[in-house]
């Protein structure tokens, strides 16, 4: 039982990181109709941006977080403008392959700039808090609080702002959005900016929780897609729920199968969703 609850705590932590990635992925999927395979690597880039700020200016990682988010948002918009925008009209599949190439480019750039070895934001071991039999690191609480804060911000943006509503509208019904006079290109740029910023946050939190590594984002890509599909394509709230479910399932699965199969658990849930409820838990737009 103790082990179960401890794993559940870890699962919620992983789940909130996945949720941040999945919100961006699902909005990009919803608005642009393609699975963005570079999303995981965008996370990794965000994590390394924060590392650069931390090491160059000697700042705490939470101060570096907003900087990384802004930089990654700009990078995501830039990639879209330079590459994706040009092939958006050709075929969705070309976009998909292109995003695969983007993933490799980002990952190799990370390797070239920061090297392939593991890195951390802060050296030294954090004293964990012991709450009875449970272990909780201060960082975990921080990650959870910051992730919750970001999710609330996204919620406010999506429900209160003109742009947020336009984004939901485009994800809901692209044709009608055009007819209504919603400026598609501006909405697309905002989608990339927000997706990039959230991916950066997810990457930084992942780096705080574990370590930084060039493939850190790629390994989380499948769980993020699983969360996206489970929650329903184009549904940010579904993505949050999906992220938490997948995160907990991955952690809890270690009770019964070897930990190295964690990604397979996320994938299995995804396949079952695809077969039995392709529209996701919350009905998706696809």
């Amino acid at each position: 039982m103790v082990e179960f609850i401890q794993l559940l705590i870890n699962g919620i932590l992983l789940g909130s990181i996945l949720a941040l990635g999945a919100i961006g992925a699902t909005m990009i999927f919803g608005v642009l109709r393609f699975a963005h395979f570079a999303h995981g690597d965008l996370m990794a880039v965000g994590a390394y941006f924060a590392l650069a700020v931390v090491t160059i200016f000697n700042l705490p990682v939470l101060v570096a977080l907003p900087v990384a988010m802004v930089l990654t948002a700009a990078l995501a918009v830039g990639i879209d403008q330079v590459v994706y925008r040009r092939i958006r009209r050709v075929q969705p599949v070309i976009l998909l392959i292109s995003s695969f190439a983007t993933a490799l480019i980002l990952r190799s750039l990370i390797q070239m700039i920061w090297g392939s070895s593991n890195q951390v934001y802060a050296t030294g071991i954090q004293m964990p808090w012991r709450l009875g039999p449970f272990v909780l690191k201060p960082d975990h609480l921080l990650i959870f609080a910051a992730a919750t804060g970001l999710v609330v911000l996204v919620h406010v943006f999506l429900t209160r702002s003109r742009m947020g509503k336009a984004m939901r509208a485009m994800s809901d019904n692209m044709n009608l959005a055009l007819i209504t006079g919603i400026p598609a290109n501006r909405v697309i740029m905002w989608t990339w900016a927000i997706g990039g910023a959230l991916a950066a946050a997810a990457g930084v939190f992942l780096g705080m929780d574990t370590r930084l590594h060039p493939v850190m984002g790629w390994t989380l890509l499948l769980p993020i897609f699983a969360a996206t599909i489970l929650g329903g394509i184009g549904r940010p709230y579904g993505a949050i729920l999906g992220g938490l479910v997948i995160g907990c399932a991955m952690e809890l699965s270690t009770l019964v199968i070897p930990g190295s199969y964690k990604p397979a658990v996320a994938f299995a849930i995804m396949v079952v969703t695809l077969i039995f409820r392709p529209q996701g838990i919350i009905k998706g737009a696809a």
Partner: protein, 311 residues
């Protein structure tokens, strides 16, 4: 000596070109002809390579086999083992839309890789399986002839398939699935057949690969080598066109190899890691192709449909 070295290098290169060409032909069956977006090429590649390795190597203490079977039986084994796996994967993913199929197949490929990584009793885990000999005691040149033979055989078979009524149905499914279903064709069945055949061709490539390099480990079946390069080849060559598929394998592998030299020219201090720089270059190359010539070097030329006049 210089020239001899170059020739040896060219032979080495062409071996890999041939092996990749076979996999590209397999992918062309799935994507180019049927429109199935499989980005789990690495999974079937790995199944073929491991099956051959286990069947043909000398008995080992730490992993399954080897059974010391002859080369050809190893390749047959690769295809035979891949068949049911591809069938199950194809059944599970049948009816998934393009992007879902993509996500599902890359997931399956990663799980296959995780499986070989973790199930040491079968595959010797990260240490991999060594001692996979070339058949009949041939060297690289002899093996090249064998590989080219298989390329020719595969090419002939897929080209016959493409021109056959079966191939026409596949293309009809790709271009207009609803209309094909409405004309009474069992779309799911045809798609599944194309998926399985394509996957088995990939497994054949995997088997040939194992014998050529002599040693396999899960590292070789990461998405970059196993899937991404194959896709770059198909897109660059021209999907739907089997000649384009083979040409793409040649061109991209040459470029891929020349990035090695290019990376050697740039000071390491500037690029950090040579292999990362190569991946970077190939990624940029693909983006350029996709933006400027998404139909590839040799675009598909379609044999006319029956009853289709010149318009």
């Amino acid at each position: 000596m210089e020239i001899a070295g170059l020739i040896a290098y060219a032979i080495f290169l062409l071996n890999l070109v041939g092996i990749y060409a076979i996999m590209v032909l397999g992918l062309n069956m799935q994507w180019g002809m049927t429109g199935q977006f499989n980005i789990g090429v690495a999974g079937f590649f790995a199944v073929g390579a491991y099956t051959t390795a286990i069947l043909t190597t000398e008995p080992a203490a730490n992993w399954l086999g080897g059974f010391e079977l002859p080369f050809l039986l190893g390749l047959v084994g690769a295809v035979v083992v891949c068949w049911p796996i591809a069938w199950v994967v194809g059944r599970i993913t049948a009816g998934l839309r393009t992007d879902y199929l993509a996500i599902a197949t890359i997931g399956i490929a990663e799980i296959i890789r995780l499986f070989f990584l973790n199930e040491g009793w079968l595959s010797n885990g990260t240490r991999g399986i060594p001692g996979i000999d070339k058949p009949f005691g041939v060297g690289n040149l002899g093996y090249l002839l064998i590989v080219l033979g298989f390329v020719a055989l595969t090419y002939t078979l897929v080209e016959i398939a493409r021109r056959s009524p079966w191939g026409r149905v596949l293309r009809a499914i790709r271009d207009n699935e609803a209309a094909t279903a409405a004309s009474g064709k069992n779309v799911a069945q045809f798609r599944l057949q194309a998926f399985v055949v394509g996957a088995c061709i990939m497994a054949l490539g995997g088997g040939l690969y194992a014998h050529f390099v002599g040693f396999i480990s899960p590292e070789a079946f990461r998405p970059l080598y196993g899937t991404f390069l194959v896709w770059v080849m198909l897109i660059a060559g021209g999907s739907g066109n089997n000649k384009g598929a083979v040409l793409g394998a040649l061109v991209v592998w040459l470029i891929w190899s020349s990035t090695e030299m290019l990376a050697g020219l740039v000071p390491t201090a500037l690029i950090g890691s040579e292999s990362a720089f190569r991946v970077f270059l190939i990624g940029v190359l693909l983006q350029i192709i996709l933006v400027s010539r998404p139909q590839g070097l040799l675009p598909e030329t379609r044999p006319p449909m029956p009853g289709e006049g010149k318009r």
